[in-house]
Amino acid sequence: MPTIKIDNQTITVAEGTSILNAARSAGIHIPSMCYMEGCSNHPTCMVCMVKNNANQQMIPSCATKVVDGMDLASEDTEVKEARKEAIELLMSDHVGDCEAPCRVACPAYMDIPKMNRFIANNQFDKALKIVKEEIALPGILGYVCSAPCEKVCRRKDVDQPVSICLLKRFSEEETQNYLPEKKKASGKKVAIVGGGASGLSAAYHLLLNGHDCELFEKYEGVGGMLLASVLNGDLPTEVMVREVAVLDQLGLVTNCNVEVSKEKFESLKQEYDAVILANGTDGEIFGLEAIKTSLKVDSGTYTTSDPKVFACGSVIRTQKMAVKAIAMGKEAAWSVDAYLNNGKAKATERIFNSRFGTLRKEELTEYLKESLEGDRVDAKSPNGYTKEEAIAEAKRCMHCDCRKLDNCRLRDCAEEYKIDRRRFALGERNSVLKYINHDSVIYEPEKCIKCGLCIEIAERHGEKTGLTNIGRGFTVKVSVPFNQQLSEALTVAGKECAEVCPTGALSLRSN
């Protein structure tokens, strides 16, 4: 049995094993995209390259069999740079978004397209569940959010943006008593100073993560700046009450009419495992380090000069957008969670996101293929959407996000190698096309990395028409022979092709 070395680790494997599999057997991770066990078409993507130390040559590990005595480098700078560049090149020729523009624009990063799809599919509880993964107070935001998401909704270039804010409100109002599951109790407790949007949001996420939470509010009731909206009639009191009640049900202990003084603050620090300052613009800084007059806070981890003390909301900077305050509360809570679990605060990092910008006119047509035609649905009643109206409106969503968001190898690699997606942004991009004429599969050729797996699988299934490469070189496209429909090309192999496709080029319609 041949014995090889990868990064000086000795590995013995059976004759005929690929370097990639040898590495995997030893727990060495090598990224790869085009490789699939049993398929012959690799190597194409070249992200699995390793270096042969004997001659300094790069070799694709998926397609090279081990030879006794091989001495290879995988984690070496040169190798990693080359892999990174391969991924950057692939990304430069990949016209597709990971997340939809609306989600990217949402300060709370709410998965809007997914919510829309659940509503359109009459699964309102699932819609709310998605919403509440990111947003603690969707009912309230449904009334007061300035909806930056709608400003970037691509549907606005056709007629009007999707009524995202109203749909979110609908999802909450339709499923009022949704109570998310809490994680196992951690035994840690956190004090939150200030019961505004930010503090409530932080409390919600800390509670879900199994920490005990106690809130200290200066005034008679919680709500902070949100109360102004209640007072001027924008936000119904019952919505406020209902959403705060959910927090109570999750176990939040609220102490109203408690003004936290310097002494009180010091005692909170003693008593609790962490303290979050969310007491708005008039918050004191309790002797923590400051820059000019404001508290010095790390913008990623929300930590102050005291590692135990965190701050969010208007304490840092006056937050006019409630959704931004809510987003900060959540991120601060997650940072505290990390601190409580591992002793180290952690910034919320969004994973790699491919974006290509504004849709061209012809692309709008492609995107409209997946949505319902017609103007924005207006709620007839001031109480918001009826079920039918909500479903109709949700169906106007154009599904700008990728169907392979969570299982795209290109995205994974881009994230792993922290690529610069604009590094090779040269030349004119191609226009997005969507082939939707198939029962179960959707094909978006501009996301294809030309690995050829689908062609091989279709052939293996004995498809009469199947798929083929058209042209060669940079302009090569995977397509259906003689311009036939995708449904003719993939009569039985569709599902497998979609599952195997390393990117969102071929995906299951149901996603």
Partner: protein, 779 residues
């Protein structure tokens, strides 16, 4: 059943139904319809093993195939390197402009389709344009309208008149005329017809002999007149209407006056002021300092042995000059091991580019255990600016065949393929003729020359894909697949054609084998350098006085080639660089002209032997433009498999475009260099691995030119966006330029100094070419 189906069925009946027959079938269909009608393709799928996926993949991979009907005539504008540096792009644009083609490539009347072709192999008369079978050389943009007119006025070509010379009497001598592709492109066949007609009309008994490529492409059409008792005389650059005059100077006929009078004297009236035809030059072979003598001096003919002496398809003549002696010797006297030992001893390395020692490959195949083994002669010469293989196949078909036979015997191959580019029709014809003859003569077939050795050899015509010069892609192509290279190992020597051990050698490599066997390894080994033995054939072209096909000993310097053989730089310009090795090679600056030609030293300076294109560049050539030119070629020819080659070459090209247009930044140079290096590392085949060479070598030696572009200046005055056309005070106000300007950027004001409106100017260069007093300048 309709007509298309009928035709397709006939083709299939002839070619077969197996999936590997797809390329020959497609070629035959296109031969009938001039393009591939979809209905025909579907018929193929319905009636053969070929699938829809396969036929679509293949017919869109190879550039030979068209999917739309074309015009009645095809205008092929050569964009090979030599043509490129002499303005091929402007010529192409000019054709489209003159034919008023704005969309697609065919004019409104469907009369002409304008195409770019990689290389017509007529580099010495660049720029070259071929309209159907008519070739125009030295095409200037200003002449395009005339060319189209000229072509339209051509009578439909008559059947070639072959006149028998049956007159009694002793031959007065021999006239040799070269009929290689470039000779024909320069008008040799017209000269030959005229020659035969004149001889017949005047009953002069002279042997007219067609010889292969004479190599002196810069002087063709050329006649060599050999007469007993006289030194041979050369006439160069002859026109058909000058033939009678030349013959009159050498040969007499009894009935000369009576038979020739009408033709000749009527004709001679046109030559009242000179008795020597104006455009042709006469040299005697004994003169030392003639261009031809200089050109041939310093060359060593092995692959091109008997150059200009033997008729390509004359089997007897090849035999009379020791042809097939080496092969016979192998069969009768030498064991395979002894043959391979000779090859090893000779130091022969592959001439296809990489310079891998031939004997290693031969041994691998010989020692491989298999029921069947194959040999492939790689004649898929796709480099723009290279035509060595074409010339060898056209001019020495028997030598190539003999080389294959020897190799086949040595490695134990039972079947072989000669893979020849479809763009080389003459080579295909000559080789096919040669194969027929060899079969008749018992050199191919069962029990060759009474031995146990049986061998069959066939031609496979490529379909237009440079990447198929790579051996694994070439094999895929023969097997009826897209020409996608495979990762090696396994090498073809273990697993090649149909998974059997296969020896693949370049045409030139195999052409050298008979010489080595016949004269012994020592005779080959004594030529060349320590690590590079023997000779190398180059296609010498570009900005030199004498271009052509040359065979030089390894170890010769670039300077010797440029200055001695090539006669230096044309038009008094300054020598700037040579580009060696085509798209895989690199640019070597003039200061390094003492670099010797051998595998190692070329690699050391960042170039490579490649297949042997050698383009000389002068001060008016922009190195950024040269890098861009080669990269646009490889980018176009990438199979698309590896990320770096598919997308990386494209991105490099875009960076170069940015720089060429004056929008580049200094940081782009680093990005370009980094990407070039990673593309070398991250591609699995030779095309991708070497595609960055032209970029890297120009960055290495001519970085200042890149930097100049970034500052907004093209020092050579080549890059369109960075230059202006201006007219200086020498202008006489003749309005010629104004009349010919296609976009009215020059106003026709007689006797006034003309000016160019650079806002309108499209940089077609017509004004500069047409100006009688050279008053147009590029700034």
């Amino acid at each position: 059943m309709n007509e298309i189906q009928n035709i397709v069925d006939k083709i299939i009946a002839e070619k077969g139904k197996d999936s590997d027959k797809v390329i020959p079938i497609l070629q035959a269909i296109q031969g009938k319809f001039n393009y591939l009608p979809e209905e025909a393709l579907k018929r193929v799928c319905d009636t053969t093993e070929i699938t829809e996926s396969q036929i679509t993949g293949i017919s869109t991979f190879y550039s030979q195939f068209r999917h739309h009907p074309v015009g009645k005539h095809i205008v092929k504008v050569c964009v090979g390197t030599a043509c490129h540096v002499k303005g091929a792009k402007q010529v192409y644009d000019s054709f489209k402009r003159e034919l008023k083609i704005t969309e697609g490539d065919t004019d409104a009347e469907k009369l002409f389709t304008v195409e770019e072709v990689a290389c017509l192999g007529c580099c010495t008369i660049a720029p070259v344009v071929q309209i159907d079978d008519v070739t125009y050389g030295h095409v200037e943009t200003g002449k395009v309208a005339e060319i189209i007119e000229d072509f339209k006025n051509l009578a439909p070509s008559e059947e070639k008149q072959v006149r028998e010379l049956t007159e009694d009497g002793i031959s007065q001598g021999e006239i040799r005329i070269g009929l290689g592709s470039c000779c024909i492109a320069s008008g040799s066949s017209g000269v030959k017809e005229e020659l035969e007609r004149t001889l017949a009309d005047n009953k002069i008994k002279v042997d007219v002999k067609q010889v292969g490529c004479v190599g002196v492409c810069n002087q063709v059409p050329m006649l060599e007149i050999h007469k007993d008792g006289e030194e041979p005389a050369f006439y160069t650059k002859i026109k058909a209407n000058e033939v009678s005059e030349i013959i009159k100077n050498h040969f007499r006929s009894e009935n000369w006056m009576s038979r020739f009078k009408n033709r000749f004297y009527n004709y001679a009236e046109n030559f009242t002021f000179s008795d020597v035809p104006v455009s042709s030059n006469r040299y005697n072979s004994t003169e030392k300092d003639t261009p031809i003598a200089e050109f041939l001096k310093g060359q060593v003919n092995i692959a091109t042995e008997y150059r200009g002496e033997i008729k390509p398809s004359d089997f007897e003549e090849y035999k009379s000059k020791s042809g097939f002696e080496a092969f016979a010797k192998c069969l009768k006297e030498l064991s395979p091991d002894e043959i391979i030992a000779q090859v090893e001893e000779s130091g022969l390395k592959g001439r296809g580019g990489a310079g891998f020692p031939s004997f290693i490959k031969w041994n691998l195949v010989k020692n491989a255990q298999a029921d069947e083994k194959y040999i492939i002669c790689n004649g898929d010469e796709g480099d723009p600016g290279a035509f060595m293989d074409r010339m060898l196949l056209e001019s020495y078909p028997f030598r190539v065949i003999e080389g294959i036979l020897i190799a086949a015997y040595a490695v134990g191959a039972s079947e072989g393929r000669l893979y020849i580019r479809a763009e080389y029709p003459l080579a295909v014809t000559r080789i096919k003729e040669g194969l027929e003859i060899c079969k008749k003569e018992g050199l191919i077939g069962e029990n060759i020359l009474g031995s146990d050795f049986s061998f069959d050899l066939k031609v496979f015509e490529g379909a237009g894909a440079f990447v198929c010069g790579e051996e694994t892609a070439l094999i895929a192509s023969i097997e009826g697949k897209r020409g996608i290279p495979e990762l090696r190992p396994p090498y073809p020597a273990e697993k090649g054609l149909w998974e059997k051990p296969t020896l693949i050698n370049n045409t030139e490599t195999l052409s050298l084998v008979p010489f080595i066997i016949r004269n012994g390894a020592e005779s080959f080994k004594k030529i060349g350098t320590e690590n590079s033995k023997g000779t190398k054939v180059f296609a010498l072209a570009g900005k030199i006085n004498r271009g052509g096909l040359i065979e030089v000993p390894m170890g010769i310097t670039i300077r010797q080639i440029v200055e001695e053989i090539g006669g230096g730089i044309a038009n008094g310009k300054k020598f700037k660089a040579v580009q060696i090795g085509g798209p895989s090679g690199g640019c070597i600056p003039a200061e390094m002209a003492d670099t010797t030609i051998d595998f190692d030293s070329l690699k050391e300076v960042g170039a490579m032997m490649g297949s042997g294109g050698l383009i000389v560049l002068d001060e008016s050539d922009c190195m950024v433009d040269i890098a861009h030119y080669f990269l646009s070629f490889t980018q176009e020819e990438s199979c698309g498999r590896c990320t770096f080659c598919r997308i990386g070459t494209r991105r490099m090209l875009e960076i170069l475009e940015k720089i060429k247009s004056g929008n580049g930044r200094l940081s782009d140079l680093d990005l370009l260099e980094q990407l070039a290096i990673n593309t070398q590392k991250g591609s699995i085949c030779g095309l991708g691995k070497t595609a960055p060479n032209p970029v890297l070598s120009t960055l290495k030696y001519f970085r200042h030119e890149y930097e100049a572009h970034i500052k907004g200046e093209c020092p050579a005055g080549k890059c369109e966006n960075l230059i202006r056309y201006e007219i200086n005070d020498d202008c006489t106000g003749c309005t010629k330029c104004a009349q010919r300007c296609p976009v009215d950027a020059i106003q026709a004001k007689p006797y006034e100094l003309h000016t160019v409106d650079n806002e309108l100017c499209i940089k077609c260069d017509i004004c500069k070419q047409i100006c009688p007093v050279d008053a147009v300048e590029i700034k």
